[in-house]
């Protein structure tokens, strides 16, 4: 009788532990998915800003049709992208075309002084920053989740219930945000 009770007790404890770990993993998964949706909101906002930006720039930049078109095209690709892989590629593409647009805009003093342009530029800056911060947060959450599902004993549970490692939101351009320089 006593051994039976002990076995029963052990089983109950193990089941409770498994349930606890499983729930913790689910919580982490929800949390990084939620962080992804935060990025999505900001990306969408950037997509909405671009047509206005291109429209305003068109009035001044008569000789830069190519740059403007590449921005529009990159935007369309980003909007159409569905899988995370495609999305990352398209967004990186969009970021770099936008940057070249801004670089070209430097040559048009009238455009730079335009009130609408100034406002759009500020909106774009803040959106880019928000994307950056949201990305930072998302990556933090992903690394927490990935660490959790790969460390023992969570790894057993993760293997049993098919918790897949999540992907980081990487940037092509490492110098994207000015990382503090290390000099010796």
């Amino acid at each position: 009788m006593v051994p039976l009770l002990i076995v029963l007790g052990v089983v109950v404890v193990v089941v409770m532990m498994v349930v606890g770990m499983y729930n913790a993993l689910v919580q982490m998964r929800v949390s990084f998915q939620n962080a992804w949706s935060q990025i999505d909101v900001q990306l969408k906002r950037r997509h909405d800003l671009i047509p206005n930006l291109v429209e305003t720039a068109k009035g001044y930049m008569t000789h830069e049709r190519g740059t403007l078109e590449s921005v529009t095209k990159a935007r369309q690709m980003a909007v159409d992208a569905s899988s995370i892989q495609d999305k990352l590629a398209a967004e990186n593409m969009l970021t770099s075309t936008l940057r070249s647009l801004m670089a070209v805009a430097e040559n048009y003093p009238n455009l730079k002084a335009d009130q609408t342009m100034l406002r759009l530029q500020e909106e774009l800056t803040t959106t880019e920053n928000k994307i950056g911060f949201a990305r930072q947060y998302y990556n933090d959450e992903v690394s927490r989740y990935n660490t959790a599902i790969q460390t023992f004993p969570n790894s057993i549970i993760a293997g049993q219930f098919a918790f897949q490692p999540a992907e980081f939101f990487k940037l092509d351009d490492v110098a994207e945000r000015n990382v503090p320089q290390v000099k010796f």
Binding site: Q42, T125, F133, Q136, Y137, D140, R177, N178
Partner: protein, 547 residues
């Protein structure tokens, strides 16, 4: 690093429990003391009259007395606690006459955006509101209440003097306070213990001025009998004790949290230099001593009141100061940036150009402002002896940041070590710094510049001037802090290290901050200050003509 919110929650509730416990103990002890003294006095006065009976003082505190007193004290402290923590954000903001940032104005919209960015950076866990305090002083603060409502506030004077990256750094610092949870504890502690300070303030004004709002000393009140004065004096002494107790509140606030918030700001913005620049800019100016809210100094990024403790690191300073030494903070930030002096110069120059993006000037249509006057040659900055090229550690960093530069040669800018260049402004010969836009002007020349009306001012200067004007009212009601003669920088003309210039308001009617040399009477204006003074004077003239 994901913020471990569980740990944060635990540590913050613990610290708040401490200050609640402290408050209760304070009330109980205070009440016991008062009851005991009153009882002893009454007993003696009664028995003196009838039988001269004496009693051991301690036996007056019997069990019923103690329990009644303690019960009363508990109720009182509960009332105090709930009264001060209820709607604390709204009350505090109202006390400081804060208003929500207006999305219709360009710079205020940028501020809102930056605050939203910070809110995104914390994973959207906090909805942070952006508030402005209408004053020309320069400071920023964060507030949080038990419901999780968070506010980041900045004074208009600071908003108008920072570029976007510096603003981001300041807001990220405040967001760091919110995310690590120490914002809640400083807010609650400040609000709870501020009550004592406020009582002290009011009684002080009644004592010296005969009315709460300050204003001029009324002579009729002084003649109204000695008993009134004695009463006020007693109130004042009690209030002084209370003020000391309120001061103890800062015991619960660690200086370390400022370092942590700085680190958090760097983690978010990846830009330690911008934060160092912002701290430097704030440190050099009037941080808001004398405005409502100054007694809650723990919530601000730099303490509004200058205190001797702030620059030291001994145990006593650690206990009683809410902020670490500015030099050390800036030194740590510069170390993070691995900044060299040359980088720093570049950074400051970059900062200057970026300033225009946040505050776009009125383009070319108006005549030149102080920043635009063509400098007469001397474009190559002279080499600084022992300076350039040396790595900037915390020690060397203070050459530029944290404490005033000691000019090595005549006419070297006391702020940034560039060479001052002669220039003509409003028909007057002045010396101007090409990099930080400061100006050295002779005393008489100031009058001349102010009286000349050639230059037009943009909206930013007019806003700053308007705020400076409104400041006069506030400062008048706070006589102790009105003028401060603080030793500041070495005069670039006299180069006398012992007779430094003093930082002060140029005159009580126009509270514009300047540095004045006692020897040659020259006046050093930092960026914008001369223009604000001119703008104030002109609008006065205009008003006089109209009447």
């Amino acid at each position: 690093m994901p913020y471990s919110f569980v740990e944060i929650e635990q540590s913050k509730s613990r610290s708040i429990q401490w200050s609640l416990a402290f408050l209760v103990v304070l009330y109980v002890l205070g009440a016991l003391l008062i009851v005991w003294v009153v009882k002893y006095y009454l007993f003696n006065s009664v028995h003196d009259r009838f039988d001269g009976l004496r009693i051991s003082p301690l036996s007056l505190l019997d069990l019923p007395t103690i329990s009644w007193t303690m019960g009363g004290a508990l109720v009182l402290s509960a009332v105090h606690w709930f009264a001060s923590t209820d709607a604390l954000i709204d009350k505090t903001l109202q006390y400081m006459s804060g208003r929500i940032a207006d999305p219709q104005k360009d710079d205020e919209r940028v501020f809102r955006n930056v605050v939203e960015e910070a809110s995104v950076a914390t994973g959207g866990k906090y909805r942070i509101e952006a508030y402005l305090i209408p004053t020309a002083a320069m400071n920023a603060f964060a507030l949080q209440d038990f419901q999780g409502r968070s506010v980041i506030g900045i004074t208009e004077g600071l908003l108008k003097r920072l570029n976007r990256e510096q603003l981001e750094a300041v807001v990220a610092h405040e967001a760091g306070h919110i995310a690590t949870g120490d914002c809640l504890e400083t807010t609650v502690t400040s609000v709870v213990f501020k009550a004592f300070d406020t009582i002290c303030d009011i009684s002080r004004r009644m004592l010296f001025y005969g009315n709460i709002s300050g204003g001029s000393r009324s002579s009729s009140r002084r003649d109204s009998g000695g008993s009134f004065v004695v009463l006020l004096l007693i109130v004042f002494l009690i209030a002084l004790a209370l003020k000391f107790i309120g001061y103890l509140g800062s015991l619960f606030i660690s200086r370390q949290r400022e370092y942590r918030a700085d680190a958090m700001a760097v983690q978010l913005t990846r830009n330690p230099l911008a934060l160092a620049e912002a701290l430097h800019i704030i440190d050099q100016r009037w941080k808001g001593a004398g405005i409502p809210g100054e007694n809650m100094d723990a919530i601000f990024i730099l303490s509004p009141r200058q205190s001797a403790y702030d620059d030291n690191e001994d145990l006593f300073s650690d206990l009683f100061s809410t902020h670490p030494p500015i030099k050390k903070r800036v030194g740590i930030l510069l170390d993070m940036a691995h900044a060299k002096e040359a980088d720093l110069d570049n950074a400051l120059n970059r900062a200057k150009s970026r300033f225009e993006t946040l505050h776009p000037g009125p383009a070319a249509q108006t005549s030149a402002t102080l920043g635009d006057i063509p400098a007469i040659p001397v474009p190559v900055p002279l080499p600084v002896p022992g300076g350039l090229g040396m790595p900037v550690g915390p020690g060397n960093a203070s050459l530029v940041f944290g404490k005033p530069v000691i000019p090595a040669a005549k006419d070297q800018c006391p702020r940034c070590q560039s060479m001052l260049v002669p220039a003509v402004y409003e028909g007057v010969q002045i010396k101007k710094c090409p990099s930080c836009q400061g100006a050295l002007v002779g005393e008489m020349d100031v009058l001349h510049i102010v009286a000349t009306k050639e230059v037009q001012f943009d909206e930013r200067i007019r806003d700053l001037a308007r705020m400076t004007r409104e400041q006069v009212v506030v400062l008048r009601s706070n006589p102790f802090d009105q003028i401060y003669d603080q030793k500041s920088i070495v005069c670039p003309s006299c180069l006398d290290v012992r007779q430094k210039m003093t930082r002060r308001f140029i005159n009580p009617k126009y509270p514009v901050e300047v540095d004045k040399c006692k020897i040659c009477a020259r006046v050093w204006f930092d960026r914008d200050e001369l223009e604000i003074l001119q703008c104030l004077y002109e609008s006065d003239q205009l008003a006089a003509v109209k009447n």
